[in-house]
Amino acid sequence: MSSTTQAVRAGGREWNATNITGSALLVLVAAWVLWNFIDAPTQTLQVMILGLCNGALYALIALGYTLVYGIIELINFAHGDLFMLGSIFAAVMIADVFGQETSNPAGWLAFAITFPLAMAFCGSINVAVDQLAYRRLRKAPKLAPLITAVGVSFIFQNIGILWNGSAPKSRNSVLPSGGLNIGAISIPWTYLFTLAITVPLLMLLTWIVQKTRQGKAMRATAQDPDASRLMGINTNRTIAFTFALGGAMAGAAAIMYVQTNGTTRYDAGFQLGLIAFTAAVLGGVGNLTGAVLGGLLIGLIQGLNDGAPHGLGQEWSQSVVFTILILLMVFRPAGILGSQTMEKV
């Protein structure tokens, strides 16, 4: 790690060309949302809520990226594919092991049992990969673990192909169909359920990181691994724990993804992983609340773009997400909640 430090931006908000352009863009986006809203209020509200629920999934995956990046500065390319493996695992458990295809009490029970299993499955795979591969590369140049992660991602994808086939498979949801109707807006129960699961998970995660002894060790390791080791922290175990947490979040996202989207596909991890990582960066990578906020925001924007009357439509979805990412990088590189001073360069 080179010890160069970037000049810390002077406190307070300066009104320069970059800031003004950035603000103008924000105003434009707000105007666009308003335009949609005035033209078709119910449709806009509907897609916004659905987008928000999709955003909750992105947030869960983004947490895994942000946790790992926060502690060892590794863009974990394999994380999206870990999520994909989790989704296949969850679908296979519910449909083939428990034999549940429809929404009934037995199906709910299967879901309830599979939920922690999927979390444990993804968490343990993540830890195993860390211990087998990334651990040996802690002192290596940054590119080495990154390429390793790409390699692991290839391995996961191939396992996904062998497990699920190269074509998408449709899976039945075991959660109640239908949804909550408020006026003309209807929100599927599965989406509401996703939201209801994300929030407590985030709270639990924040509690672990902020209040527990293990969380303190995590924060210390993130700041300075060598100093932490000198203070008697088992940094290796702490990093492994972080990988476990991130994996577990991906597992939770995976089972909810199967329930809401109803398909498993081997390349799901690639798309969602990219979006989730964008979410993590959007919120300020390494920042937990930021990751969730970024995920929700991207879900919202994607929902509006795909479904709102003046959106560009689904075929531009990816472009819109990445344009936001690039604009953000140009105008506010530290993310929404990230602060320039905290950045380790």
Binding site: S2, A133, G151, I155, I159, I326, M329, P333
Partner: protein, 398 residues
């Protein structure tokens, strides 16, 4: 570990001389003789090393050399190299076909197309610098706003561009009524490779036949050779030393008076130009473009070639490109067939392609991080690093 630290001591002057010329000589001889060998050995021609694969290998060598300048020399992680490939390929497709049929009678400049054809039909040899220029400009435009970012973010932004551009071209069938890229149908056919400037000697025909892989191979090999020279000359020159300085320590480099932005943009420009040339040749060689070719996988695979072969070492990159391309297009299939024939199994090797690929990457990173043919500089610094690391471990209680 001991072997690495002992290496500098072992290198006596005569060995160094051999070492200095071994890699370039091997590259030249093998590169020049491949078509002769391949066409004379039936086992190669039909199965193990068809010329089609060799042409692809050479195209990927060009891409790898280009990316090596960005990643290997300047140390800027680019995950969207596919963007330059795309620009090169589409530039060739636009300028060498009847795609813009609105232009009628068409523009013809030494083209292989029939004289009555509409659209823009320009000789490949004029399109080549145009494609390089278009890609280089794209590289600078992509690079300019993002080069202030630190490496991970840079990787992400380049990745973003690599995702957006193919989508733009995929949806570009009707942008406000204008057909930019013909969408998923792609642009085909593209005019054949024209050779008017050389055909008067009688070595080659005016137009290169679709099945004439030998000539095509020599053309792309010559382009590779050109880029090897460019890479090596640049590395040893002022610009190259500035790149290496930035790679090693950006702050120190800027304090020594290296203009960061300009130097980085040059790396992007030159690297992108190679991508553009490779893309243009790819398009002409295949006789068309299809937007599905341009995906994230491509960027990653080219990056893997650079790293697998040996970052910052031109010959390492060439080796990496040739090995991985061969494995991708021929090796995996043929090895699978050979195993099946010998042991009577029915393993579908290509199904395990990414599995094996992934394992190779991981194992390489764990056990031979500097690639198959590491650059001399890397070898040295690695040895020093390991010595430093050892100091700590020897004194620490087990």
């Amino acid at each position: 570990m001991a072997a690495v630290t002992a290496a500098p001591a072992k290198a006596t002057p005569p060995r160094r001389l051999i070492g200095k010329y071994l890699q370039p000589a091997a590259f030249l001889i093998v590169g020049l003789l491949v078509p002769t060998i391949v066409t004379n050995v039936p086992a190669f021609e039909d199965r193990w090393l068809p010329l089609t694969t060799m042409v692809l290998c050479a195209i990927f060598v060009l891409f790898t050399l280009g990316l090596n300048i960005v990643v290997g020399y300047a140390g800027l992680l680019d995950l969207g190299y596919v963007a330059f490939f795309l620009f090169g390929a589409y530039t060739a497709a636009w300028l060498m076909s009847d795609f813009f049929f609105q232009i009628d009678p068409g523009i013809h400049i030494w083209s292989a197309a029939v004289p009555t054809a509409p659209g823009i039909n320009i000789s490949f040899w004029i399109v080549l610098p145009i494609a390089a220029l278009v890609a280089a400009i794209a590289g600078v435009i992509i690079g300019a706003p993002t080069l202030r970012l630190k490496s991970d973010y840079l990787a992400l932004v380049t990745l973003g561009f690599g995702e957006i551009l193919p989508q733009v071209f995929r949806n570009g069938e009707s942008i406000k009524g204008f057909n930019l890229s013909n969408g998923t149908k792609g642009i085909a056919p593209v005019n054949a490779l024209d050779m008017y400037w050389l055909s008067w000697t009688g070595i080659v025909d005016d137009k290169i036949n679709v099945f004439d892989y030998t000539t095509r191979y020599y053309v792309i090999f010559a382009l590779c050779l050109l880029f090897v020279l460019v890479s090596i000359r640049l590395r040893d020159g002022k610009l190259g030393r500035a790149w290496l300085a930035i790679r090693e320590d950006e702050l120190a480099a800027s304090l020594m008076g290296v203009p960061l932005m300009r130097t980085k943009l040059w790396a992007y420009g030159v690297g992108a130009a190679a991508g553009g040339i490779g893309g243009a040749f790819y398009c002409v060689s295949l006789g068309g473009v299809n937007v599905d070719t341009f995906n994230f996988q491509f960027s990653v695979i080219v990056l893997c070639m650079v790293i697998l072969g040996g970052m910052a070492n031109v010959y390492g990159c060439i080796l990496g490109a040739v090995i991985l391309t061969w494995v991708n297009y021929t090796g995996m299939k043929e090895i699978g067939n050979a195993i099946n024939n010998t042991f009577g199994t029915t393993i579908e090797m290509p199904h395990y392609q990414f599995l094996i690929f992934g394992f190779v990457l991981v194992l390489m990173m764990l056990f031979r991080r500097d690639g198959i043919l590491p650059a001399a500089r890397q070898k040295q610094s690695r040895a020093v690093d390991e010595q430093i690391e050892k100091i700590g471990t020897e004194e620490a209680p087990a």
